[in-house]
Structures are given as C-alpha cells and as structure tokens.
C-alpha cells in the first residue's frame, strides 16, 4: 500500500526539521488566487495579500503559510473569472493552461498542463470536462513560511495557440492548521 497524504506531510516535515507539525490539526485545505485582467501570463499567489476576497482567500499572510500550517497539494485547478469583481467564475471553457508550481526557490512542477477535458479518468459520469489536474503519487508539500507561487499561461486546447484570458488558480489538498496544545 502506498504512502498516505498524512504520512507524506509528516515525512517531509520531519526532513525539514518541523518537529511539531505532527501535533497540529489535520484538515482539508484550499487556497486560491485570481486575476481579472486578461493576460497571456499570470503569476498567482505572489502578491495575493493585496487581492482581497473574493479575488483570493490567502489573506494577510499572502503566499506563505504561517507557523505550523502547511498544505499537501493533491489537486491543482484553474478557472476563469467572469467579471472584474471576481465574484462569478466558470471552468476553463475550452481553454487549457500551462503552468509551473514553485515552492521556495525550487520549481516542483514544471511545464505541466491542465488540459480542458482531461482527467476524464477520474470522473465516471462520462459527461464532465474538467479543469483540474490530480497530482500523481501522493502530492507535494508546501511547508510553513516558505513562499510559493504558480506561473500560468492560457492557450487554446485544440490549436495550441496562446490566449489572453482572465484566470484563477486553486490548490487543494490535505492541510495542517495551527493548534495550540496549551493555554495562551
């Protein structure tokens, strides 16, 4: 049997010297960021503390998790905001996205694509065209207090030509939340 998401979090945390992450509250976590001005290239999460809800949900900490909080990224999805406000959004609607995920100074996913209509293998209703990529293996850990960001470029799925689009990105997976085990 393979390693579980929780096992991988604790394994990586241990190697990074994060000895107290194992005592924190386990959770399911999702962070997202969106940019409502159409562009050929978008950089998500970097500077996201300046983008208030509903454009992003990272809050004042921006593109890093606070002490003893972490996210094991298991799915990466993209969406298209429908207006400048970012309130309404849709799936990729025929477009696809090429992206890199960078944690600290390290590119951990490079030149990957979320192909519109891909990931069909994970859907069994036979009618869903997805805008998500499921990470193979167990996922990738974003440790506490390390900056992360996603660089993404939209393009036409069939003709493979660059497209200027509004775009948003979310990272979904198993997380840890700060949990004080003592009174403060």
């Amino acid at each position: 049997m393979g390693m579980s998401a929780q096992d991988k979090m604790l394994n990586v945390a241990s190697r990074l010297g994060l000895t107290t992450l194992k005592d924190m509250q386990g959770t399911t976590r999702m962070v997202y960021d969106s940019q409502t001005t159409a562009a050929l290239t978008h950089t998500f999460f970097k500077g996201a503390s300046q983008r208030a809800f509903p454009l992003s949900n990272v809050g004042a900490n921006g593109n890093q998790f606070q002490v003893n909080e972490a996210l094991l990224v298991e799915k990466i999805g993209f969406f298209i905001p429908l207006s400048e406000t970012g309130v309404t959004y849709q799936g990729l609607n025929g477009a696809s996205v090429k992206f890199d995920l960078v944690i600290g100074n390290k590119t951990v996913i490079k030149d990957a694509t979320v192909e519109f209509g891909g990931e069909q293998a994970f859907y069994n209703d036979g009618a869903t065209a997805s805008s998500v990529i499921d990470l193979e293996g167990v996922g990738i850990l974003i440790p506490p207090q390390v900056e992360y960001y996603v660089v993404a470029k939209g393009f036409g799925t069939g003709a493979r030509a660059a497209a200027s689009v509004r775009l948003g990105c979310y990272l979904f997976g198993t997380g840890a939340l700060l949990n004080f085990n003592t009174t403060i």
Binding site: T113, F116, Q120, A129, I133
Partner: protein, 184 residues
Amino acid sequence: MANQVQKLSYVDNKLGVSLPGQQTTRVIYDSVNAVAAQGFFEFFTNFAGKNEFQTNLTTNKLDSAESMVIKSIQIIGAFGGSPTPATLANHMNLNILVGNQVVVKDFDPSFNSTNRGLAFDRLHSGANLADNIEIRLLTEIVIPPQVNFKATLQLADGANIALNDDITIIFKGYGRIFSAGNSF
C-alpha cells in the same frame, strides 16, 4: 503490488539512476500540424518551429536526472475539414516506443471516445467528446532518463484530415525532475 512511485524507483535503480530528484507530476506533450489527408502521425520526433503549447520538450528524451511513469494518455484533435471533419471517434492505432522497445502496441483509444468510455475499465469513462480522449493505463510505463521515445498514431479517418488540423498527444504521470536537495 507496486504502485507508480515504487515502480519508477525500481526501474530507475535497475538502470543505475540513483539521483533522488524532486518528485512531481509530469506532463509532456507534442502536437502535430497536419497536411491534408494525413493519416499517420509521429509524435516526439520533430520539435522544430513549435511553440511552448505545442510541445514542452526540445528533444525526444528526458534529461539525465529526469524520469517518469506514464499513467494517462490523452489525445486532442482540432479538426476543421469540410464537409466531414475528422474525428477521434473512429478507429485508431496507437503505438508507443521507449528505446527500441514497443511498450504500447496497436492500441485503439477510440473505444474510450464519446460515450463509449467504459470499454477498457469502468472507472475510465470519457467526457462524451469526439475530439478529446483520455486513457488511464492499467500498467505504468516508465520513461527512463536519456532514452529516446516516440508515439505513432494512425487514423482510419485520415482521409478527412484537413490542412492545418492539429493533433496533440499528452503523457501524464508521476515523475522526477532535477533537485539539489530535499524533496517537497
């Protein structure tokens, strides 16, 4: 039973690849712009003049510190022929070669197109699309570092291929990319 992570490690070790690397989800793709009535396509052999959305490789092998297992194969067509555009819903013949070895032989992905997506594995249905197919492999295929690979696709429907139609093949799976330290 070995999972994809264990299988990649096993094969890499057999081949003498000992670098740990950053574990990641790897997506590689190549797109071919067709000439009229082209019924046979070869992928990952010609990279000249292609943009970053048509291919994310510059040579038909992975770098010395990189390897991957293919878990999913996706084929996307952009067809504009008149009066009858080509489709991926008719019979096809897919072959994948790694080194001198045929690793997928005379495989017909069209059984997974449109609403016929339950033929190979009931978990792996399609999104009811005739020009966008994904197959989830039941046996992982390893692409080791520095070994040439390519894919060929024959379309029974080739006579309907029009000038400048595009066909893209995408390999997705678990992989390793170069890393000089800990793996997230």
